[in-house]
Amino acid sequence: MSADTSADPAAATSTQTAADSSPYVVEMRGITIRFPGVLALDHVDLLLRPGEVHSLMGENGAGKSTLIKALTGVYRVDGGTITVGGEERTFTSTADAQAAGISTVYQEVNLCTNLTVGENVMLGHERRRGRTIDWRATHAEAARHLRGLGLTIDPRSLLSSHSIAIQQLVAISRAMVLDAKVLVLDEPTSSLDRDEVEQLFGVIRDLRAKGVAILFVSHFLDQVYEISDRITVLRNGSLVGEHLAASLPRDVLVTEMIGRALDDLEALSGTARREVDRSGEPVLRAEGIGRRGVLEPADLEVYPGEVVGLAGLLGSGRTELVRLLYGADRADTGHVSVHGRPARMTTPRHAIDHRIAFSSEDRRGEGIIADLTVAENIVLGVQARRGWARKMRRSERDAIVAEYIEALGVRPANPDAVVGNLSGGNQQKVLLARWLATAPELLVLDEPTRGIDVGAKADIQRKVSELSAKGLAVVFISSELEEVLRLAQRIAVLRDRRKIGELDSAEVDLDGLIDYLANEGKGSAA
């Protein structure tokens, strides 16, 4: 640790001699990146040491991928310096970064699945004989690199014939061909099962022993603690801290990731205190609902007038759970009943017929129809229920649209504005309007307040609170735990694709919830 302080002046003053004295293979200092209207990264430092696994942690929008893209030459920095091997560099392309020894393996494997394993490993570095490629030597070389990672697959087999896990290891072999000093692994485990993760970690440990610096990004806390030597935490584009993994308690990490920014919405906490009558049938009861590789079987009940919060980090299974309930994805275990009667939920239509509404976390991709107007977007849910032949009358449509624009404060209050041009918060209000117009009995909101301004956030929370008081059942997902605590009477906690328990929000505070989320059943998750 003492090396930190001694290295700083050396790196700053002399880039020639720094290579000898700097303990870092990559030194990013004061990195600042601006996007139109957004400060994506604000003076962030990242220091990678050879022979170490360094995890980058943070919630969505924290700036993890922006920082990685700055390092790998995808984005140009607006401020700060990147020093690699003691030399200050300005990367203008990913090829630049690769030439400097920085290789990246992305979540979605970026290889050519229609080429052979060997061709992928050696792409651009094929062995030549005169002006032609010596395929025999090329494949032999590929096989050597693959064996180096403990892979004994045939380099002449098609890449697409192998599992994602193997493809990921092939991508790492490719990084080795490029003689990478730094290996960036962005969410490499998100589609791997337990054994495959073990195989990958074995490879990572080997590379670490060979002196490669590894930057690891994952949403799985257990995996991060298993493999990391050091952890850097980002939040909202700023550096929160760098820690040795061994001396960083889980609850401190989670607190740093989520932050504790209390805003002016404390007044709403009355919602969470409201008593809910759970004597009757729940609106929705799910028993053992799950899907292989997505979510372990989980139970959930929601009663009329109740707000159930789902707490958990991104990738914990909170979104996956509600998607299964809604029929957006098909569950392969468990069953669901609505008002005590068994219900089939295999497509969104089934859920909608049972008066369940679901607003996705992916507002642009799965929510708004960007080219259509505010009015068309708002009535889409009702119109879809009625079918194409029974078009809503103009007067009825105008009345509904005017009512919700007013009630939710959509700005601009113009029914003919194209939704794609509205701000995120107003798009979210339009989506909320679309579902409220269908008069649902259960409203499922996945991250309805992410990435929107405080005013819109308050409007949406107030509306949810109001509607639940009138008897609407709500499932509310948010990365902001204060928000969940404020709105929900009951909180289901998920971690690593598993529901780990339920809490009564009257009996738990923020620290208690963070502690539960981080530590309950620690290490047992698969």
Partner: protein, 358 residues
């Protein structure tokens, strides 16, 4: 001042007006319409009548393209439809009988409908990429048509059948009546019901539409059925015009002209917002251009080059970027009233990505 030139139909309409102007200067009688025996004649009437098959096919194509699809099989379906109709008439004892012709037409349209159902099944149910799914029928369809006619060009002599392409309903050619009725019915059904807006929703963002409860499978399927049926009618009009079923020539390359007409009319190949009026203008531009080429006496070997040159110019005039380069529009500012194209393009891209990732 209203910015009528920002309307999305302005440039297609301008291209049509320009073509008509060139023609009326080159041949003074171009615009004149004369009455003979209570029937209208003239160059414009010919263009409108001859455009009927392309109009029918392009209408179906518009709806298919709005769903993010494409239908390459329309030419082949025209060939099959013509073959079926002619075979029924040829095989009957009384080819001149109106009843025979009605049965023939109904059978042909039914067969075309079934082919559309097949296309829609491949795309909407099996999830095969539209270009591949319809390529199957595009390649196989003409073989089927040849099989039906036994490998010959079936010719018939049937007055009621000839009437479809060359007859007059009081003042106007019957083929023109067919295409006007088709345009009117489709424009009404799409806009007076919610079908149009739901089709656009599915085309713009299929996943969001699915989650909103839109029955997107039925909407996509229906688009291909409609396209097949309209191609069937187009095949009958074509066969009636030449009084024969020519499996090799019927509707040859019409799928490409139809796609061109849709694009000229301002509907994006990326799907989503569509314009029936735009397609009508696009068809008329193509048909007027063909008539112009004929009139100017461009040697037939060179006419495709001439056609291509004009189309390239028209498409370039419609391109925002080209107009921007020539200072015809202001560069879209950050907060300028540029409307949907900017974000919509972005959305189309991100929408696709989401689909792949899901």
């Amino acid at each position: 001042m209203t910015t009528f030139w920002k309307h999305r139909l302005f440039w297609p309409a301008a291209a049509l007006v320009a073509l008509v102007t060139v023609n009326s200067i080159a041949r003074p009688r171009f615009l004149s319409i004369t009455m003979r025996d209570g029937e209208l004649y003239g160059a414009l009437i010919d263009i409108l009548r001859n455009s009927a098959p392309l109009m029918l096919v392009a209408l179906g194509m518009t709806i298919v393209i709005a769903t993010r699809g494409i239908d390459l099989s329309v030419g082949a379906i025209m060939a099959v439809s013509g073959a079926v109709a002619l075979t029924v008439i040829d095989g009957s004892d009384d080819p001149g009988n109106l009843g025979t012709v009605l049965v023939a037409v109904a059978t042909a349209i039914a067969v075309a409908l079934v082919l559309g159902v097949w296309n829609g099944f491949l795309v909407a149910v099996l999830g095969i990429q539209p270009i591949i799914a319809t390529l199957v029928l595009m390649l196989a369809g003409r073989g089927v048509a040849l099989l039906i006619t036994g490998g010959f060009i079936t010719t018939v002599n049937s007055d009621p059948f000839s009437y479809i392409a060359s007859g007059y309903l009081t003042l106007v050619p019957f083929a023109l009546v067919i295409s006007v009725v088709a345009v009117a019915v489709i424009a009404l059904v799409e806009r007076r019901t919610a079908l149009g807006v739901l089709t656009e929703a599915v085309g713009i963002n299929p996943e969001a539409s699915r989650l909103a409860g839109v029955r997107s499978r039925g909407i996509v399927w229906g688009a291909y059925v409609l396209s097949g049926a309209l191609a069937g009618v187009a095949g009958i009009v074509y066969a009636s015009n030449i009084k024969a079923a020519d499996a090799n020539a019927a509707g040859l390359f019409i799928e490409l002209y139809a796609i061109l007409a849709v694009v000229l009319g301002g509907t994006s190949l990326a799907g989503g917002k569509f314009s029936v009026a735009g397609t009508v203008i696009g068809v008329l531009v193509i048909q007027t251009l063909e008539s112009t080429i004929l009139f100017l006496g461009v040697p037939s070997a060179q006419s495709p080059v001439f056609f291509a040159l004009v189309v390239v110019v028209v498409v370039m005039v419609q391109s925002k970027r080209v107009r921007g380069a020539f200072g015809m529009v202001r560069r879209p500012g950050r907060d300028g009233p540029t409307g949907p194209p900017g974000p919509s393009k972005h959305e189309a891209v991100t929408g696709r990505r989401t689909e792949v990732a899901a």
